[in-house]
């Protein structure tokens, strides 16, 4: 397993830039989100989650 040791903020910025520039169009584990996907799901509380 290979991981990077950059700061979390650096990695978030890099991933965000890649998403916005389309570099993750073929990234398999997650469909690239569309603008309509930007709204996050609700938070589920301590009682249960969906």
């Amino acid at each position: 397993m290979t991981v990077q040791t950059n700061s979390t903020l650096d990695k978030i910025a890099r991933a965000e830039a890649a998403l916005k520039s389309g570099l993750l169009t073929n990234y398999a584990p997650a469909k690239p989100p569309t603008p309509a996907d930007k709204k996050t799901p609700s938070s589920w509380g301590p009682a249960m989650r969906v």
Binding site: T2, I12, E16, P29, K31, P33, S43, G45, R49
Partner: protein, 425 residues
């Protein structure tokens, strides 16, 4: 002069969100006794049904309130919905739609969902789901292969339920009804990511979605249900393995989406939108999610929040309940001092996260109550739950994305990788 945390929180308390999700506890009764269930034994053994007059009152007030989002999802959950007959839901759906047509036809679209353990699915239920398939989604709770599922999802006699759940899922499939899977991940799952993935991958054509949940509370006397900060690497490795398996699937010409990762990338994309709310603010925004238990008690902020949680926090013995719909109009709840107090406390919690957490911009929140339960204050930042649920998953996703970019994007953005790097939280 610097303002106190409470003053800052008041200023940042924000406004009420339109209601997007209404969780109805049609019944608290459940035919199963899953070992990790948060609902009390008493409530799960009590046969009850949310009265039609409660549904009528609730939705009359909601539709008249002007506080609903353009699309509202009504989900029956918390207790096993299928212990009530299909006719109960036929009537409830009909009633809600009639009220919508009378009171908010032009403004609000309503969708429905039922979350079931699948055990009671039969031909009658399949006909019901087909009858409403244009507006109703089915979710099935299944934890994967039988050894994982049957470790915790037992009936009241302590017997395994996997076969019955699979039979229900197969009936749905044969009837052409797609369903979304929600699978709980325990320590046992961490040891078997391949079997966990394969089990659901093989059913992908019948699924409308797949999502896994880590238990909401890491404290448990059962070591396989408990987790702590020491488990971060184990969860990280599990998440990374699922990401690898997704990629292998893709490379083999197939697709199987794990919603946890799609939602994670959506949060990254939304993390710094100029002018828009942070996803943290948005996910647990006041009134975005409403929960109504079978007696009419209403809570907000989180979907699925029971009034048993933090029961004595606000002095009325009713937890975070805003009131009972039979005793207080919804609009009074929305304008209540209690809601304002909860909003202030949650804002304090949010500001503590914002001030200290690198993951704030990609977190959808939801750990305010965990903080209060663990530390006795909302003015705390990290909990074990947010560490495992959010930070570790984001780490895995970001590292996977970085590795993908390094190896797949042949341009100047490539970063050199040190193969000796290891996950070091």
């Amino acid at each position: 002069m610097l303002k106190s945390n409470r003053e800052q929180a008041l200023l940042a308390g924000g406004s009420l969100s339109p209601v997007q999700l209404v969780v109805l506890q049609g019944t608290s009764f459940c035919n199963l006794n899953c070992k990790y269930c948060d609902l009390s034994d008493e409530s799960r053994r009590t046969k009850s049904a949310m009265e039609p007059r409660l549904i009528e009152r609730l939705f009359t007030e909601l539709f008249q309130s002007g506080r609903l989002a353009p699309v509202v999802t009504v989900v029956w959950h918390s207790g096993e919905p299928l212990t009530l007959p299909p006719s109960y839901y036929d009537n409830a759906i009909g009633l809600i739609l009639r009220l919508r047509d009378m009171l908010a036809a032009a403004n609000v679209s309503v969708r429905f969902a039922i979350q079931t353990n699948g055990v009671l699915i039969d031909d009658d239920w399949c006909r019901f789901f087909k009858r409403h398939e244009e507006r109703l989604h089915v979710g099935v709770s299944c934890d994967g292969p039988s050894d994982l599922h049957d470790s915790y999802r037992l009936n009241w006699n302590g017997r395994a339920t996997h076969l019955q759940t699979i039979r229900g899922m197969d009936l749905l499939s044969r009837s052409g009804i797609k369903y979304k899977i929600i699978a709980v991940v325990t320590r046992k799952t961490l040891r078997r990511p391949e079997a966990f993935y394969k089990f659901f991958f093989e059913r992908r054509e019948h699924l409308s979605g797949f999502h896994f949940n880590v238990l909401a509370d890491g404290r448990s006397p059962d070591p396989d249900l408990a987790y702590s900060a020491d488990d971060r690497l184990a969860y990280y490795s599990f998440y990374r393995r699922l990401l690898d398996l997704s990629r292998e699937t893709h490379n083999a010409g197939d697709e199987f989406e794990i919603l946890n990762f799609s939602h994670g990338t959506a949060r990254i994309l939304a993390s710094k939108d100029a002018g828009g709310p942070m996803c943290f603010d948005e996910a647990s925004a006041p009134l975005k999610s409403l929960n109504v238990d079978s007696r009419g008690n209403v809570t907000a902020f989180y979907a699925g929040l029971s009034i048993d949680v933090l029961r004595d926090e606000y002095g009325d013995g009713k937890g975070l309940s805003l009131g009972n719909i039979f005793e207080m109009p919804f609009e009074d709840m929305a304008r209540s001092k209690k809601l304002q107090r909860i909003m202030e406390d949650f804002a304090i919690s949010r500001r503590s996260c914002e001030a200290s957490c690198e993951y704030f911009s990609v977190c959808s929140g939801g750990f305010e109550i965990s903080k209060k339960q663990r530390f006795g204050t909302f003015e705390a930042a990290e909990t074990v739950e947010c560490l495992i649920h959010v930070k570790t998953l984001v780490d895995a996703l970001l590292d996977d994305i970085s590795a993908y970019l390094d190896f797949s994007v042949p341009n100047e953005n490539r970063h050199a990788l040190n193969p000796d790097d290891r996950y070091q939280p």
